[in-house]
Assembly symmetry: C2
Homo-oligomer: 223 residues x 2
DNA sequence: CGATGATCGATTGTTGACAATCTACCAATT
DNA sequence: AATTGGTAGATTGTCAACAATCGATCATCG
């Protein structure tokens, strides 16, 4: 056998690359809610025919990042803060707690090391004041946890909310007062996973995810 | 103004009709998990070109009803009972409780009447021993509740799980011992919505949704 | 005999052209 | 002036042909 592990060569179809590009443009904020996505324009810009592009738009629609109606142009969707805070984040919390409970005892050193590495990335991003990288690392931290469970449904539900969370985070950029708090919080979570009891982990985890939206609600309350 | 309210004329694209047909074939059990969906076969059978069909397949994939990989044929997805019971149903419970809390006080007579009508349908279906109709009525009951909230996210998350619930229910058909229990349970829920306190409603609702999977786990434990 | 390479049929991926529909605008009618 | 009807341009919906890739099969070679 091969002693070196090659990364799986991801065979991305045109449709998937197009999808990723548009998604990134949306969650990075280059496309604002309500912006029209005209198929011909985009297909010309990307040098791609409309077939794969249309399929990519349908994928984005399924994730709630765009909205469309027959014969009307597709537009970037909006995400309202109350819905994210009241619904998406609770569902997400439920999802992560489910996986943590489900996989208790399966946490090995490789898992902890991966989280450690992500926390290090967070620190770098916070030091650089790179908000986007920070958010991506944050998401990757939680995805690493979710990946403990290989159930299709877990991934599917996560996919259904993660991009709207991205959109939400980016939209409420200004609220992140202290970027350094993010790596610190996640480091605390990691150390809890290593040493603390299940109940304590659950309590910490719940508070962490609640705090994340408090960070974001914050800007509404300041003078 | 017109005194008569016309139903909104639904303008369904070919893609949407194709989507609905395949979805029905899957949740009705005519297509079993693992069955291959060859684009050319289906497009010929439906007398439709592959473009809209492919988009419909991508929609089905987003809902977790089919799985596919590049250059490999799409196949009907399977749904494992543990995942439904452990994850989909808890998430669904959370979703419905959220909407109920959110819309408390907005429940009018028209809403109750709609639920009443659905319960009547359930009774008919149970009397006819028509399992499929019963399941559809059950789903419609809960969709009626969810429709109290007009948030996009609520619908989106529901869409992400409802078809897999359908698949699950159909798959575990044999478990439904007493069809009459279903309308009775929902009638109880309805009367609780009318008269009981919020706490009592929440408790009843939680028990109801838990019971639904108990009904389905049932077949594993008999004899 | 086992591993590698080539070939073929089947299936999906992609494209560009054509058809159907929508929106906006303006004229006709009352 | 308000409503209706019609037209034009833009945009999406649909199609059928072509290209790329996959899996199975068999030949080749060590």
């Amino acid at each position: 056998m091969n002693p070196y592990q090659f990364k799986s060569q991801e065979n991305l179809s045109l449709r998937q690359r197009v999808f990723a590009d548009i998604r990134d443009a949306i969650v990075r904020g280059h496309l604002k809610p309500g912006d029209k996505l005209r198929e011909l324009d985009i297909s010309k810009q990307m040098n791609v025919s409309r077939g794969p592009l249309r399929e990519a738009l349908r994928d984005l629609e399924a994730l709630g990042l765009v909205v469309s109606a027959p014969y009307r142009e597709t537009a970037v969707a909006d995400v309202r803060k109350e819905e994210v805070v009241g619904l998406l984040i609770p569902v997400r919390l439920q999802l992560e707690l489910f996986v943590l409970k489900q996989t208790r005892g399966k946490w090995d050193e490789a898992f902890f090391a991966a989280l450690e590495e992500i926390v290090a990335e967070m620190k770098r991003a916070a030091a650089d004041n790179d908000l986007f990288a920070l958010i991506e690392a944050d998401i990757r931290f939680h995805e690493q946890v979710l990946s403990l469970d290989d159930s299709t449904h877990t991934q599917q539900i996560w996919l259904g909310i993660v991009n709207r969370l991205r959109l939400h985070f980016i939209k409420n950029t200004g609220a992140f007062g202290d970027l350094g708090r993010v790596p610190a919080e996640h480091a605390a979570l990691l150390s809890a996973l290593r040493d603390e009891s299940d109940e304590r982990i659950e309590a910490l985890w719940t508070r962490h995810i609640r705090d994340e939206d408090c960070l974001l609600c914050f800007d509404e309350k300041t003078d």
